[in-house]
Amino acid sequence: MATVAEVNLLGAVNLALKRAMTEDERVIVFGEDVGVDGGVFRATDGLLQSFGPKRVLDTPLAETLIAGLAVGLAAQGFRPVAEIQFMGFIYATLDQMINHASRLRTRTRGRLTCPMVLRAPYGGGIHAPEHHSESTESLFAHVPGLRVVIPSTPADAYGLLLSAIRDPDPVVFLEPKRLYRQVSEPVEDDGTGVPLDRCRVRRAGSDITLVSWGAMMHETLAAADALGADGISSEVIDVCTLKPLDTATILDSVSRTGRLVIVHEAARTAGFGAEVAASVAEAGLFDLKAPVLRVTGWDTVMPLPRHESAYLPDAARIVEAARRVMAYD
């Protein structure tokens, strides 16, 4: 019973949650305000009504609790999907995620496992209050045993979230909130998942490889358009699954283009872009015709809305970097 609906990224998340809860009664959803309110962004809208209070639970205001509950439920065979309201409040989960969720399987040699999903909206660009615009995906990407997934389109949000929920191991699923309502596309609600450790080539090209994820994908695509108008052909790769990182797709692209620009909105130092660059410096060095540039948020605190646009990379900055890279031959 696959229906096709025109949905935005938020709608796709909602659709995937509904699908997952329908197909597997072990899936339960909880977090702050996910019930009656349907989540502050409405990602869980209607779930309580459809699945009832045993499958959709509002928790007390406590993020460590939320992560710990997920670990306990997952070990007991549930498929918990826990929501953290904003990524700026996710740090209290790190102890549980690093010391427990990511390693329950390893610690018990497979006796207990932790098939949980920790969802959170992340990133800036919506003029949100302090602490509501953070992009700290690289903290999670460093943790062995976790998967880190970031969709940038409604269709991927749907397919990746389904795969994340079905995955037998813990997945951190970060949703670029700036894109929640920005673009819509037809999404077929047929329960098809998207593979969890595969980068996506969003656009094929031959002169330069642009790698990005999350909300920055769209700035990157805009930059590719601008470059295209100048006759520069960009291959655009969406690292929708940061961890484990599919370096093969990136290396293959760089082997053809010889040029690489990486774009993310997180702070530069030790951001995940460094991992992408390092992977290429290791396994694709001789393909490179130009330095690997990173277009990122500055190494500053994410500013309040007035200066948000000075912080966030945009198409112009990407184009500028791409041109610098193209100047080499």
Binding site: E32, D37, W298, L304
Partner: protein, 355 residues
């Protein structure tokens, strides 16, 4: 088994919802002038709030958390504090910030997305608002520890919502206050809601005041819509705290507005509940008391409103006229001196076409 049901948590109220005194007012607050001063602050806070929402609706302020209905808590706490005490407020505590001497335009600036709003000229040592719910509790313990170590008769006052009392950091900070007998007062503005989550879903504890028992400190409840009760009880708590006996004061009030300007509370709570809460409106209550007991009248009310409106108007103007901060500020307050390796980034930012 010991159970919370056995507890006799003390509850204080001086003014009934109809403005009638329930008991003799504490001496320090019985003079009409002092109550008029508190009334003025509550009216000012409410006008500040109304104006903030209007600014947000017209695109001139960012997302904003309304204090509507909680004026008595903020004004009462602010009244009880001394200038040299230090406030660590959560994000809805504009009333106490104003009372502490933070300027309305500074608060607008902050909610308008400008960091300079937290660089207020007034209470220099007060903390900026804490957005991460509960996160200021251990910090407040640190501030209180500083006072204790230096032997200063000052108190760290940490104000937070009911939702914050479910957080581990709340508990850890409070526990430290107990262990070290810190000059620490924790004020819980129990407005019955944490976004869409009602108070009863936060905890099975019958009162939030009894959370004090877990850490061996004093805990009590006051009618948080009664500014006299708040001022009196927080005042005693502060006096005790100055002598090394920390306390938790739960103020029972109600969030009359939406959680923030991006929230729609009608999704999750009944209008009837909100209407009932309006019957306990802290501002009207004090006005009724003053009218009945202290000759408050329409003229004085209108004069007061006019004065407050003018002051708010000036604040709004000052806010709207604030010249933009140079973007270099992204780097300028990151470290005391910008480390060499970051200089290039700052230059790139300024060289960009958005500088």
């Amino acid at each position: 088994m010991a159970s919370a049901a056995d507890l006799d948590i003390h509850h204080t109220a001086y003014l009934g919802p109809d403005g009638e005194p329930l008991q003799a007012l504490p001496e320090s607050l019985s003079a009409p002038e002092s109550l008029v001063a508190l009334y003025r602050d509550m009216v000012f806070a409410r006008l500040f709030d109304t104006r903030a929402i209007a600014l947000q609706r017209t695109g001139r302020l960012g997302t904003y958390a309304s204090l509507l209905g909680q004026e008595a808590v903020g004004v009462g706490v602010g009244h009880a504090m001394r200038a040299e005490d230090v406030l660590l407020p959560s994000f809805r505590e504009h009333a106490v910030q104003l009372k502490r001497g933070v300027q309305a335009e500074e608060i607008y600036r902050y909610w308008g997305g400008d960091e300079r709003g937290s660089d207020f000229a007034g209470p220099k040592e007060d903390f900026p608002v804490c957005i991460t719910v509960g996160g200021h509790t251990p910090q407040a313990a640190g501030v209180a520890l500083a006072f204790k170590l230096r032997g200063e008769p000052r108190v760290a006052v940490c104000v937070m919502g009911d939702g914050a009392t479910s957080k581990g950091d709340f508990y850890e900070g409070l526990n430290a206050a107990g262990v070290w007998q810190l000059p620490f007062v924790c004020v819980v503005t129990n407005n019955q809601w944490a976004i869409s989550t009602p108070r009863r879903e936060q905890t099975a504890a019958e009162t939030l005041a009894q959370k004090a028992i877990a850490v061996g400190i004093e805990g009590e409840q006051v009618d948080g819509n009664d500014v006299v009760a708040v001022a009196a009880v927080v005042g005693s708590a502060l006096a005790q705290a100055r002598a090394g006996r920390p306390a938790l004061v739960e103020c029972l009030t109600y969030r009359l507005g939406d959680h923030t300007t991006v929230d729609d509370a009608s999704r999750y709570r009944e209008d009837a509940e909100v209407s009932a809460a309006w019957q306990r409106d802290p501002v009207a209550r004090l006005r009724l008391y003053l009218t009945n007991q202290a000759g408050w009248n329409k003229d004085r009310e209108q004069a007061l409103l006019a004065e407050c409106e003018q002051a708010i108007e000036r604040a709004v103007e000052a806010y709207l006229e604030t010249p933009p901060e140079p973007v270099g500020s992204l780097f300028d307050f990151l470290y005391e001196r910008l480390p060499e390796p970051l200089a290039a980034q700052r230059k790139a930012l300024l060289g960009g076409d958005r500088g």
